[in-house]
Amino acid sequence: MTTAASQIDIDRDKGDFKYEESHKYDAGYGLTEKTIDYICDVKGEDDWIRDFRKRALKVFESKAMPTHWATKDLDNIVFDNIRYYLAGDKQAKKSWDDVPDEVKETFERLGIPENERKFLAGVEAQFDSEAAYSNIKEAVAKDGVIFMGSTEGLMKHPELFKKWFGKVIPTGDNKFSALNSAVFSGGSFIYVPPGVKVSHPLQAYFRINAENFGQFERTLIIADEGSEVTYMEGCTAPKFDTATLHSAVVELVAMPGAKIEYITVQNWSSNVFNLVTKRAVAHENSVVKWIDCNIGSRLTMKYPGVVLKGRKARGEVMSIALANDGQHQDTGAKMIHAADETTSNVISKSISVGKGRSTYRGQVHMPKHLKGCKNNTECDALLINSDSRTDTYPAITVRGDQNYVQHEASVSKVSAEQIFYMQQRGLSEAEAMSLSVNGFVNDLTRQFPMEYSVELKRLIELEMEGSVG
């Protein structure tokens, strides 16, 4: 049997580095009204934002930890030991030349080829709290697409921002959305005008660079009538000894007929608490698809949701979670049906390696007086070692007329016969295992954009190394 010692440590070579910290702005440790005043002053925010943040702080303080259902590990977060705002420079960079060398080095270490850097449509790289580099590819801007840091968006497009900001995920939704509302900085703001189909996926890389530094991005994406947009975020983070908190809020608005695809590959280092609230509102005939891939972090709690508000709206969540030693991937999906003939589909695959634990939590809600709604949920879990663990906790409420819900979950292990077969053909046990695991998630990874599925495949191979033998 595999012992803990023989488990390969999660390979984070790519992300295992950090810079000299040189933060011009630092709000210090702990969170009080003063911290919020500091953030507002530095960012030069309007009073309504200051009030919004302060109200959120009160909500955050009044809410209890959700440990009556969630893992007790949450109690290990010491909010006083976290710095809530750090920024190198408050202006987002405009051109490549303005990008600090340190950030360029980050791209170097991430292995992004020179030509790809230029090719990537409007790379938005977040270095600590502020967007350090933001470049909208001209072609995209010509169509009227707004793609910028959310701080900038708040300044430049308050009329758009205010209309949707905090509407999809209200401050009081949960303790961590309240925390984010109090101290948010960074994140992306995207507006796609009616009928515009953004041809390139918009991407953002997020990094955490300071010890004990929490990131609280706030992303708001609005796809106007009949438009289409794909957004990708991928994260790697340097290794630290003390826990780091990451608590983002992502709000998507799909207007009638719009299509939004939001792709996340999460590979935080194994000391990060990743507590994220993601939700979309889907109007008539729109489609929102969350593709969510969780590989890193110590504890991830993330349940992307879609509120299906317009007739024939569709919501999808495809998720892959990989939990290794010391990790708990607590992920899932929320589908709130609020109009007739809405459909939703959730496919979740999780792999638990070593002492890793993966959890699926789901909610499907179909209230009274709705007609012809459908939901399909499939959760498959693969357990690699004898001390791996997996849980499934769906909650399904159905009322109404001609509604249909089905939920299925299964738990299994890699079949010994499969491994034997591949070994007969000259593969090592580890290679066979890795191939088998990749096969398990294959039908999902196929739906990912190519570069992500390649990266994912490599990550799974790395994670599976040494898990057998």
């Binding site: 009556h68 259902w69 638990s352 009274k368 007086h369 879990a381 357990l383 690699i384 070692n385 004898s386 001390d387 791996s388 663990r389 997996t390 849980d391 499934t392 906790y393 769906p394 909650a395 399904i396 409420t397 159905v398 009322r399 109404g400 007329d401 001609q402 509604n403 249909y404 819900v405 089905q406 939920h407 299925e408 979950a409 299964s410 738990v411 299994s412 292990k413």
Partner: protein, 439 residues
Amino acid sequence: MEAETGIDESIRYDFQNHIDSLNTAPEWWIQYKQDAFDSYMDLPLPRRSDENWRFANRSDLDVERSYAFDGESSLADRSKLEQASQFTETQSGSYVFADNQLVSANHAPQELQDKGVIWCSISEAIERHGDLLKDYFMKQDVDLGSEKFAQLHSAFVTNGILLYIPKGVEIDAPFCAYNWASTPNGAIFPHTLVIAEEFSSVRLVEAHLSDGEDAALSCGVTHLFAGIGAKINYTHVQNFNEQTLGFQINSNIAGKDSQVEMNSVILGCRHYRSETHGQVKGSGAHVDMRSMALTDAGQEIDQRTLQTHSAPNTTSNLLFKNALKEQSKTIFSGLIKVDEGAQQTDAYQTNRNLLLSSNAEANSLPGLEIEANDVKCSHGATTSEIEDEEIFYMLARGIPREAAQELIVYGFFEEVLSQIADETLAERTRELIRAKFRG
């Protein structure tokens, strides 16, 4: 505040009366009840944040306000109830209780008694089989949310049955226990304790029924203990009137190579909460848990289940089916728990909800917690209406729509009913279902 003190006093007064009425009971039993009552008073009512009560109606759980625990009965016609307590063709013995009091008893045949079979009421068991009770009475954990109500049960329980089957004894004909609720706003506490020793085999049928249409409280507990290689087949029919508030706390422990089967047919109660814990403790053990419920206007059926596998090479299978008419509500919350080291576990859980009205609400919380890797576990939950095609098929054959619906619902339940071993009992339950369906 004054009103609350008043209620507090009234249940204390009822409990004191209850203790006083047990003048011949042994000291340990009195002490046991006293402790249970104290725990009941200490434990809080279920809270909103309580995961075990998610989606549940908690507005009527403060039972002290609505029911009398003093044990007085207004029961008039005992022979009527006795005659109505005939659910099976044959029987090895039967007990009929109404308002916790004995109505009639059919003892086990002498031949079985000679082999050491014990079939007696709990009140008799307290006098004669104290040692057995000390070892087994309420010795299975209550861990699905109704801890407080289990203590209430222990504090006030006076009757129910004890069935003890010694090693190697196999009995074909079922034992039957009937519990009636009769007095308006009264409370009954049916208790069922089955102990099947090594390689024994036994069947038990239990029915919970109402005499009249008055509101009442039932707070029952069933514990099954299956020793090595033992077989227990238990069928429970709940057909209280639709004013009743019912709690039913079931648990079984399946030892090595044993087989436990639990079937429930649920038709009655305004609000019914059942908890069933299948503890698969010995390797080679197999546990089956099945249930069917038919609900109509105003009913809430809240079922929580747990399948715990703590030994390798065990299997369990759960099938809970609900058909919902009118404005009614069901909650199914089930969890499969496979402990570390319980390898080669096969555990399945299926919940099917058939919505027959757009006002019906089905909640489903099927869960898994798996800590062993060499297992086959799955759960499936579906909720839907009758498919148009099925109706169309029957319409095309000249069957009117209503009859077609009815047939489909009966067919839906047949998956559970066909597993009831006693044909007369199965037929009896089909009659009850038909009567209810046609309202």
